[in-house]
Amino acid sequence: MKEIKEKHTLVMRWTHWVNFPILTVMIWSGLLIYWANDEYAITIFGHTFLRFFPDWFYKLLKIPHHLADGMAFHFLFMWFFTLNGIFYILYTLLSGEWRQLAPKRNSFKEAWLVLLHDLHIRKTSPPQNKYNAAQRIAYTSIIIMGLGSVVTGLAIYKPVQFYWLTWICGGYHVARIIHFALTLGYVLFFMIHVIQVIIAGWNNFRSVVSGFELVEEPTPIVTTIIVEESAPLVTMNLLEESTPLLTKGPEERAIFPIDEDDSNNNLL
């Protein structure tokens, strides 16, 4: 028997989808600015492997000769990006949602299992809950990256008035490189994110629009067996041992030493 389970809050869904077009405009207008002095490349031992960016790329996106436009768009949408981000972070902190988002002590170990599972090297699916370990790390990182973009952005936007910010960022050059690298990070994140969402399927995607998922009704046993979270080693062992039981049914799944609400295997 399936039932509706609430997954994503309204605030999370709005800020997520509002951020998407804003970040797109920020990246595009950022490119218009960067083009005017496109000095970055990956060079190892005198050989340039990748120039940011090749001419075909600029031509494709009609980037050249729009510095003034780029700055005008960038310095308008920076407001929306920042305000949307502040709103989301405040909400997540005040509502307690951060508890399901922030990586836990065992997340870093568990994220490895998620990776192995996603690459089809390991059959056991690691504990999922709202977010699995890898998601906790990825989604928390992307928020910190957003914060980093605002801070490094301010550091290169007003390096005199906010000289202390520029100093914290390691100076004007370092701040500019971080600001640039974070943008590459968003693009990389976006590509993996979209692939994972496609793989995870409709039920998962819908939850970021409608807020709910359809799940199997949990069996009562699930709530009765809870292993202390403060025992990561035990967690691991149980996980190993439980592998052959996995296919049998919900009762056995309950021995997973995880939060009460585990019941689906969406990986993103």
Partner: protein, 262 residues
């Protein structure tokens, strides 16, 4: 008691109905909001260019945003916030020349140069480079920043603009809101708010790397204003004026932020 029971049976939705209802509401909202956002973007992207005036060349709403953003960030401006300075050895020996707009007249004779300063009484104060050189010299070695994204540590020497104003009895002019400067041929011109012009690191420079300025760097006298991007650092000053309205500004007419402050 009958009606509530009827209502209750009506309200008892199946799982599928609940799902469909919620999907309908949220996806309709999603697509309507997406369409609105796309429409909003189209409107902004195709919004008309501002009327050419003191500023020009930008989409009208974007210019308004630039001006509003200037107002916000000017709250953080302080003459106590100084540009980071560097030791002499860090200064570039070959100083970048990015443009010669306004100083491109052939056979220009710097010996005939004279600085015109417009006073409030309508009179024009005329100064020679020797008169300016008698004032105390201020040197600065700082990271010159261009809107394009490049920067270079450069070493300049000249007279602090605030010293210049007080020495030549221009205190009344210093109370006005803006300073305008332009090249002798009028081909390049900038406008600055007074607070940036009076910043202790703003100088009228006649030296670079301890040598007299050369023509391509703005000889005999140029503006070095480290709290602004390079576009405001006018070469070969021919005329200085004061006003309470924004003076015209070469790059602000071409879509750039008028303020361009750092």
């Amino acid at each position: 008691m009958k009606s509530p029971t009827i209502k209750k049976t009506k309200k008892e939705l199946t799982l599928n109905q609940k799902v469909n209802r919620r999907n309908f509401i949220s996806f309709t909202t999603f697509f309507v909001a997406s369409a609105a956002a796309f429409g909003g973007w189209k409107w902004l992207y195709n919004s008309p260019e501002e009327k050419a005036g003191i500023t020009g060349g930008a989409h009208k709403p974007l210019r308004q945003a630039l001006n509003k953003t200037e107002v916000f960030f000017r709250n953080f401006f302080s003459n106590k916030n100084l540009v980071k300075t560097y030791p002499k050895e860090k200064a570039a020996k070959v100083v970048r020349v990015n443009s010669n707009i306004g100083i491109d007249d052939e056979d220009y004779d710097p010996k005939k140069w004279i600085l015109n300063v417009q006073r409030n009484d309508g009179q024009i104060l005329q100064l020679t480079i020797d008169q300016i050189r008698t004032l105390p010299k201020t040197e600065i070695i700082f990271d010159f920043k261009c809107v394009e994204g490049w920067d270079q540590i450069q070493h300049w020497g000249g007279v602090k603009f605030s010293d210049f104003l007080s020495h030549f009895g221009l205190e009344d002019q210093a109370k006005m809101d803006y300073v305008g400067m332009q090249t002798p041929n009028g081909g390049y011109y900038v406008g600055l708010e007074m607070e940036s012009a009076l910043h202790p690191q703003t100088i009228l420079a006649y030296e670079m790397n301890d040598q007299p300025l050369v023509l391509k760097h703005g000889a005999p006298l140029r503006l070095i204003i480290p709290v602004k991007y390079g576009i405001k650092n006018l070469k070969r000053i021919g005329m200085i004026s004061f006003s309470n309205k924004r003076p015209r500004d070469y790059w602000a007419e071409q879509g750039y932020d008028y303020y361009s402050g750092l």
